[in-house]
Amino acid sequence: MTYCVALCNVPRMVDEQLEQSGKLEQDLRKGVLVLAVLSQLTTQQYGYSLRQALIERGMPIEEGTLYPLLRRLEGQGLLQSEWLVDGGPPRRYYVLSADGNRIYQDLTVAWGSLTTVVNRLLQEEN
């Protein structure tokens, strides 16, 4: 019985660890989401094409997260947008605004220094 209690809990513990690890990875990705999106908006993109571009470069972002994010970034003045008809249905195209461009440059510098420091920390640990 004691063995069962101990052994039966193992799969649940493994599941919990995996879930926790998944959540932490999600948090990590959330932190760089804005930078990843800004990096792709130096040229005009609409929601679906931006998502495809990010997937192609190995940074998949769920639709439910990306589309509202574009609106929020626009609301914060980092992006500007316009409706365009390009042979298909009308699409809303987003591009970096002047403020967005400046913030993107700042974030890029911050990201560079952050990755350097974190890489050094990880190398020292290993």
Binding site: Y48, E63, Y67, R71, R72, G75
Partner: protein
């Protein structure tokens, strides 16, 4: 169901949670993006664009309310995580206190209803009367607390960035100002003596007009059953204050006793307010009761402030 209809109803649901000015624009864009996503998924997997594929896409996208939340800018916090346990204790504790005071009064005190003969005096009849009165009415307290917290949060939000922390003017809150405390004690003792002597007003102030004497006549039942408890509370408070005055500082024990007495006083005031008249004259009773409620509020603020101060005590860890 057609995929377009499913998407249409989903988008309608999402925009219902958005501000009116955003609805049309966001709705149009979302509908177009979802259709494109759906076609993209179908092309990648080689499956037809059908109802099942549409539902899979929308399930992955999130519930309409979640999606609407993501479209909105981050809101503001009404109850901070660090305040949440305290808020819960204060809200539920206050309700428990109101119930603890009003339930016995309702069950064992005089029947408070007229014209309802059946069960009016039975325990279940009294319980029903209590529930539809003070029992359910006690929910005003969490609502009141929440409204105050909401107003405070709105002010904080309007003020913008929080002020930088500065140390308090008096680092050690233990010592007391003896002169101030002695004056407060003298003032308070005089007030208590006056109130204790009030039932004998006609004896020590016989010259007063009869109307004044009648106005300050206590309700006999209040005087017999509900009033004497205050003497115990006053005596304990008096003893604690004298001890603090002699020692010159608030010790943890004195603080704890003072807190307990404060809670007891609060319960007694609640009993007085709810159990029946305090003065025989309606006008006096109607004037005194709001003043008592104000005193109760001051006692609550004092208790909260004392608990906040004494909660800061840091003890060394036990190995």
């Amino acid at each position: 169901m057609k995929p377009d209809d499913i998407i249409e109803s989903y988008v309608d649901e999402v925009v219902r949670f958005l501000p009116r000015r955003q609805r049309s624009d966001v709705g149009f864009e979302l509908r177009s993006l979802l259709k494109e996503d759906l076609e993209g998924r179908a092309a990648e997997s080689g499956r037809p664009v059908d109802a099942q594929a549409t539902l899979e896409l929308l399930t992955a996208f999130g519930s309409p309310q979640d999606v609407a939340d993501r479209y909105r800018p981050a809101g503001f916090t009404i109850i901070r995580p660090s305040n949440a346990p305290r808020f819960a204790w204060l809200a539920l504790g206050g309700m428990a206190l109101i119930w603890a005071v009003t339930l016995p009064v309702s069950l064992f005190g005089p029947s408070q209803i007229a014209g309802w003969e059946y069960g009016a005096d039975a325990w279940w009849g009294r319980l029903i009367v209590w529930w539809w009165g003070a029992g359910l009415g006690a929910f005003w307290w969490p609502g009141f607390l929440f409204t105050l917290t909401l107003i405070a949060a709105l002010f904080e939000r309007r003020r913008g960035e929080a002020k930088p922390w500065t140390p308090p003017r008096r680092m050690d809150r233990g010592p007391v100002t003896r002169v101030g405390m002695a004056l407060a004690l003298a003032f308070w003792t005089t007030g208590a003596a006056l109130l204790i002597a009030l039932p004998w007003l006609s004896v020590w102030a016989p010259g007063l007009p009869q109307s004044v004497l009648d106005a300050f006549l206590f309700d006999p039942e209040f005087l017999t059953w509900r009033a004497p408890w205050i003497l115990m509370i006053w005596a304990t408070h008096f003893a604690v204050y004298i001890a603090v005055l002699v020692v010159g500082r608030w010790s943890p024990l004195a603080t704890r006793i003072s807190l307990l007495v404060g809670v007891g006083f609060l319960g007694l005031i609640a009993w007085w307010l709810l159990a029946g008249p305090i003065f025989s004259a309606l006008v006096t009773d109607g004037t005194v009761k709001p003043l008592l409620a104000l005193i109760a509020l001051i006692v609550v603020i004092d208790i909260v402030a004392t608990v906040r101060r004494s909660a800061g005590a840091i003890r060394p860890p036990v190995a």
